[in-house]
């Protein structure tokens, strides 16, 4: 079982590489297009459905600075696939190089426990949790912007900040009443 290693390859000059993992492959494409609009840095976006990644691409794949798990809250499969993929990452990734992005959190068909479960997962791994709105282009742009901030820190473009330090500030925390029933 080959795991993805954050430090196995040399970093690219003036480039940042991000891997978007989404089991539905729905939001990935538009998010990727918004991400490559960035001009100050060359952003390399790679898309994947789930782990393990195909071995034949191992050589051509650059060093991944940030792994983003996109979880669609309306499907349970999305969450399970993301959870299952976690074990294919080296532990070095969880020190600030992993981020969770959640879509469709406002949909009424989402059971509250799923969001809580995602929160618990993100909090236990000390990773940031972002909420994105994928239906409108404005939402996609906003999500891309926020992701870029984290990506820039993960790739070393922010002076005096390492991804570990940033993750301490942005990590997901559990609200103290998460075990109590919510309003609906």
């Amino acid at each position: 079982m080959s795991r993805l290693n954050p430090f196995a390859k040399l970093p690219g000059l003036n480039t940042a590489s991000v891997l978007l993992v989404e089991s539905e492959e729905h939001f990935q494409q538009s998010l990727a297009e918004a991400l490559v609009e960035e001009t100050s840095v060359t952003v390399n976006v790679r898309l994947a459905k789930s782990f393990p990644l195909p071995i034949e691409n191992d050589e051509s794949r650059p060093r991944i600075d940030l792994v983003v798990f996109i979880i669609n809250l309306t499907s349970e499969l999305s969450f399970q696939s993301a959870e299952a993929s976690l074990k294919y990452l080296e532990p070095g990734y969880f020190l600030g190089k992993v981020c969770f992005m959640v879509t469709n959190a406002r949909s009424s068909s989402v059971p509250a426990e799923r969001l809580d479960a995602v929160r618990r997962l993100a909090a236990s791994l000390h990773c940031p949790l972002l909420f994105a709105e994928e239906q409108t282009p404005q939402g996609v742009t906003n999500a891309a912007e926020r992701l870029l901030t984290i990506l820039k820190a993960a790739a070393g473009f922010v002076p005096f900040t390492t991804p570990l330090y940033l993750s301490n500030l942005t990590r997901c925390t559990l609200p103290p009443d998460i075990d109590q029933p919510s309003f609906d």
Binding site: N14, R46, A155, P159, L164
Partner: protein, 232 residues
């Protein structure tokens, strides 16, 4: 190989940055500095990772959490300290640069000097106004003190007056009560005597059948007999 169905690993990339005539990407000095900083950041990260396993000790998760937050706050403290010191350094450097600039005789230095003069004038004015404010404030405090004093005095006087008024009734009534009673008893006695005399006179008039209507003096006396009630 693939145990979990189709694993795609696609790539999305846009065109490279505009190339110069020699086909190389044009990088300015600032870009190079940025790239250098990026690389040093990456190296730092890798170093940290390499040294991560060295100071290992076993402890519980809660202890680790506590230590963790302690370390974070220490880190924050040091970072803010460093930031403040850098700011102070920048300030000093700026002032030095401004000094140097003013000593030369460029048009920019003239503009700088003009701004300086204006700042100084404004500062003087501010000082002046602050002094005036202070004086006015003192005056206001004095007036307030006087008003408070006045209020206090008024209050005291009112209390004294009330005291006096409540006290005055007693001594007077004490003195004259005895005399008043004596007078009352005298009055009663004389009243009884006059009533008795009047009754006797009435009896005399009736018994002797005196004609009191013709004599004006007698009539006047007989009329006054009716004033007092006839007692038994």
């Amino acid at each position: 190989m693939d145990s979990s169905g189709e694993d795609i690993n696609d790539m999305v990339k846009k065109d490279d940055a505009p190339k110069g005539p020699s086909g190389q990407k044009e990088t300015s000095t600032a870009d190079m500095l940025r790239i250098k900083q990026q690389m040093s950041n990456q190296c730092f990260e890798m170093e940290v990772h390499l040294n991560a396993g060295k100071n290992r000790r076993s402890c519980s998760t809660s202890e680790a959490e506590r230590d963790y937050s302690d370390h974070i706050s220490e880190l924050e403290r040091v970072k803010t300290l460093r930031f403040n010191q850098t700011l102070a350094l920048h300030r000093m450097q700026m002032w030095h640069a401004m000094e140097e600039k003013i000593k030369t005789n460029d048009p920019e230095a003239d503009a700088l000097r003009a701004v300086n003069q204006r700042c100084m004038a404004l500062c003087c004015r501010i000082k002046q106004i602050q002094q005036e404010t202070r004086l006015l404030q003192d005056e206001i405090t004095e007036l307030q003190k006087k008003r408070l004093e006045m209020k206090r005095l008024t209050h005291e006087k009112m209390k004294e007056m009330e005291d006096l008024m409540s006290r005055k009734e007693h001594p007077d009534t004490e003195k004259y009560k005895a005399a008043l009673e004596k007078g009352q008893t005298n009055l009663e006695k004389y009243k009884k005597m006059s009533i008795m005399a009047q009754n006797v006179l009435r009896g005399l008039l009736l018994a002797c059948k005196i004609n009191w209507l013709d004599d004006p003096k007698l009539r006047h006396v007989a009329m006054t007999l009716e004033e007092f009630p006839i007692t038994d």
